[in-house]
Symmetry: C2
Subunit: 237 residues, 2 copies
């Protein structure tokens, strides 16, 4: 038996505790499957008390998502020094850390659905996408992207999301491989656009200019050059 | 004044008419913004009669989505003849036709949200993705894809979705350019994976083997080779 008086938490402290408990539960099961009863039990308080701090599951869910979204956006921050490929690779490592830690919650969120597809949650997801987009532009030192370059960057952000989601479904490819692959995919999608657009070509050339031969971009080009002889020569014009 | 007796529609015929009317309205505005009253008015029947055929907006919405999903999956069908790049380009043309015709409905659906993110609609979207995935494997003559190749194809399908969605938001890049870009992106994402995986490398080589120099893949490689001299030589090892 304990004899001490249990310390009373302040309102904000209790809210933060409940958010933490919810995020921990969502990291193992989809939010749809986690009840307020479970959250109350894990936090060591009564169900009605949970409702005292959050009027409903949706509001607790949105508060948890708010914290997760801020944390994820924070992981995109990378000092603007050194080769771009290495920077992007570090960010991808932290992104997959996040996806790894929040697996089922991340998957449920990105797949939408009854409990999680509210306009509030969709707006928060868009905020994180926007943060990723702006970080990349900042690293590329692009102030006013052309419509084509904007599309390249935004579609790559979406590719990173879907690659992470596909990875979570079975984890059949080592995540380190996918982190590197996404860095390469960024260069590849930029190169495709650069082949047809002079402005993007300038960005690509600048992107590769500071890249060491043993960095992710140099390595990719080297390997593709090795593959080239296997394609009949006339295909390369 | 009309004197004739208006022909009575059968149940199934009336249902199909309402689905068609709904899809037409969803092609101009998001399903969230379209009321049953409007659908009734556009179909020339009373609101209660709509409910006679569909118990609620959600069921009409799902029936409309069913028809649209089947139609979209049908557009992926392409005879297995000729160079792969040209086949994929034709499919992309039909995909963008669909996106163009169903703009706001497509956008609302893919973005999820309160009215459209039900588990039924999500399952239908996954069916269409699966159909696209299977078509591509069939064209590549792959019966049992490796985990890496599966990821390349599925993530490209998702890239095609997000590229179409980004295009719909302002249509600032000509759609023909994006259709071609997506074909190139497929080759580029496959090449990235091929650089690190022997099985994917075999598929890439096979994919390019029948490709004419003036087809989309040959053209891309040619343009990239032209860009290469602008990157310092040591970057290419």
């Amino acid at each position: 038996m304990t004899t001490g008086v249990r310390r009373r938490m302040g309102v904000e402290e209790r809210r933060q505790q409940l958010i933490g408990v919810a995020l921990e539960l969502f990291s193992h099961r989809s939010p749809d499957e986690v009840s307020i009863d479970e959250i109350a039990a894990a936090a060591g308080i009564s169900r009605p008390l949970v409702y005292h701090y959050f009027p409903g599951k949706q509001s607790l869910y949105e508060a948890a998502l708010r914290r997760a979204a801020d944390e994820l956006a924070g992981r995109f921050l990378e000092p603007p020094h050194g080769p771009l490929g290495a920077r992007l690779l570090r960010v991808m490592g932290r992104f997959f850390d996040f996806v790894d830690e929040h697996g089922p919650g991340f998957a449920a969120l990105m797949r939408g659905g009854p409990a999680v597809g509210s306009s509030t949650t969709n707006a928060m997801i868009d905020e994180v996408r926007q943060a990723a987009y702006e970080q990349i532009l900042a690293h590329l030192e692009i102030e006013r992207p052309s419509a084509r370059m904007e599309l390249v960057v935004r579609s790559w952000v979406s590719l990173a999301e879907s690659t992470a989601l596909l990875w979570l479904d079975g984890r059949r490819v080592p995540r380190g491989e996918l982190e590197l692959q996404l860095v390469h995919d960024f260069a590849a999608l930029t190169a495709v656009s650069a082949a047809y657009d002079a402005e993007t070509a300038d960005i690509l050339v600048r992107m590769l200019a500071d890249e060491p031969a043993d960095g992710p971009f140099g390595d990719l080009v080297g390997r593709l050059v090795e593959l080239a002889p296997r394609v009949p020569a006339q295909r390369l014009r």
